[in-house]
Amino acid sequence: MKIKQNIAISDSGFIFNPTTGDSFSTNPIGQEIIKLLHNSKTEDEIRSFILETYQISRDHFEKDYYDFINVLKKYKLLEENEKD
């Protein structure tokens, strides 16, 4: 799973897709996950990082994580060959 290379992400959580002109805002956790995806981290690595950093159960993380990934897919922010 990888974020498209040309997607711009600012420190404020503002995301800009220069191919479509769409822009989005995300909260700090979403921003952190996007940066991890941008740096080619795997799902396991992202899970470990989040579970170590925040007080959250594994089940809770996975539910929210997959919801978030589906949002990224819907808005075409993931690399084409990484969709499924």
Binding site: N6, A8, F16, P18, T19, T20, G21
Partner: protein, 349 residues
């Protein structure tokens, strides 16, 4: 470096809610790195705001409406040229381009006034009524369309189209129709304003993306900047927009310019579907009103066109900044009655 003085006449001073491109073109010309322009506005109506924008337009002359014909336009340009010694004219309206294209050679040879316009064949080939054939010829996806000359033809198209569909004027205006009655209503409204024919076009679902570009007439694209409208007025005009990084859209643009050997400025209007297919809706043979965004993105197309009109060689722009936005605004100018009186009675200000 000292800039070269030059006198340029520009039309399209109607910076209104459905704006002409003139003011944006003039702003771009004033940022030329090589020329120091004196701007002569050419107006059709005394209420065109550019006439009164003296920080941008040095002097304005009224010119006859396009329907008055080529000879009247030539006569008026001769009069203006006696006073102003024009170097270049940049026309910015679809409806006036036919006359200016017809005059291009005479103005150049007789008065040494240069333009950089598409040929009459290029101009005609991309007319809305010819666009479907254009798409077939140049292998570009274009929504199916049909040309109507009378209301009685409406029943004849019903087997070829499903609702909704788009009803368009020859030069301007487009409305969506959801029923046969709405086609008739739109037909009447648009034909009263813009004449016949009326074009019926298949409605394609997707987001509208546009490109402003210039070709040098040999097939080379000198510059191209894609944009997506972010806020659209009730007249369908972009009130704000953002520059895009869209290689597929740029490739289609380069291919069209290469295949047609397009000369001059043009605006390409597309619909991008959810399957990332691009359908060409229109080719406008001039700068769009949002041309100043291209300048903001690092490509001064009016300046490049000016240089080409004067026979200078121009390198192609290799990049543009993405994520640059334009946002229009409205502004009330205070105008002395004397100024309005002068343009109304003498035809110049």
């Amino acid at each position: 470096m000292k800039k070269t003085d030059i006198t340029i006449a520009v039309t399209g001073l109607n910076a209104i809610d459905s704006p002409g491109p003139g003011i944006s073109v003039i702003r771009a010309l004033r940022e030329s790195s090589y020329y120091n322009p004196r701007i002569i506005g050419l107006s059709y109506d005394t209420m065109e705001p550019g006439i009164y924008m003296h920080d941008l337009v040095d002097k304005t002359y009224q010119i006859p409406f396009p329907s008055a014909g080529v000879d009247n336009l030539l006569h008026r340009i001769r009069e203006i040229n006696k006073k102003e010694k024009l170097d270049v004219i940049i026309p910015n309206f679809d409806a006036e381009l036919f006359n200016f294209i017809k005059l291009e050679q005479r103005l150049s040879e007789d008065l040494n006034i240069k333009m950089f316009l598409p040929s009459l064949n290029q101009f005609e080939e991309r007319q809305k009524s010819n666009l479907f054939a254009f798409g077939k010829k140049y292998k570009v996806k274009v929504p199916k369309n049909k040309t109507l000359f009378s209301l009685s033809e409406i029943p004849l198209i019903e087997n070829d189209f499903t609702f909704p569909l788009v009803v368009k004027g020859k030069y301007y205006d487009a409305k969506i129709a959801y029923s046969r009655e709405q086609i008739a209503q739109h037909f009447e409204k648009i034909s009263v304003r813009w004449g016949l024919p009326i074009i019926i076009q298949e409605y394609i679902f997707g987001s509208e993306v546009n490109v402003t570009a210039i070709g040098d007439g040999t097939g080379r694209t000198v510059g191209a900047v894609p944009m997506r409208k972010q806020y659209i007025t009730d007249k369908g005009k972009a009130w704000s927009g953002i520059s895009l990084d869209d290689d597929k859209l740029l490739k289609i643009t380069h291919d069209i310019i290469k295949a047609t050997k397009w000369k001059g400025s043009l605006e390409l209007e597309f619909i991008k579907t959810s399957n990332e297919e691009y359908y060409l809706l229109e080719i406008n043979p001039r700068f769009p009103a949002w041309i100043y965004l291209a300048v903001g993105c690092g490509q001064n197309h009016p300046d490049a066109l000016l240089k080409m009109a004067l026979g200078r060689k121009v390198k192609s722009f290799s990049k543009h900044e993405t994520g640059k936005m334009f946002i229009r605004y409205s502004y009330d100018m205070i105008v002395n009655l004397k100024e309005f009186e002068k343009i109304s009675t003498l035809g110049e200000l």
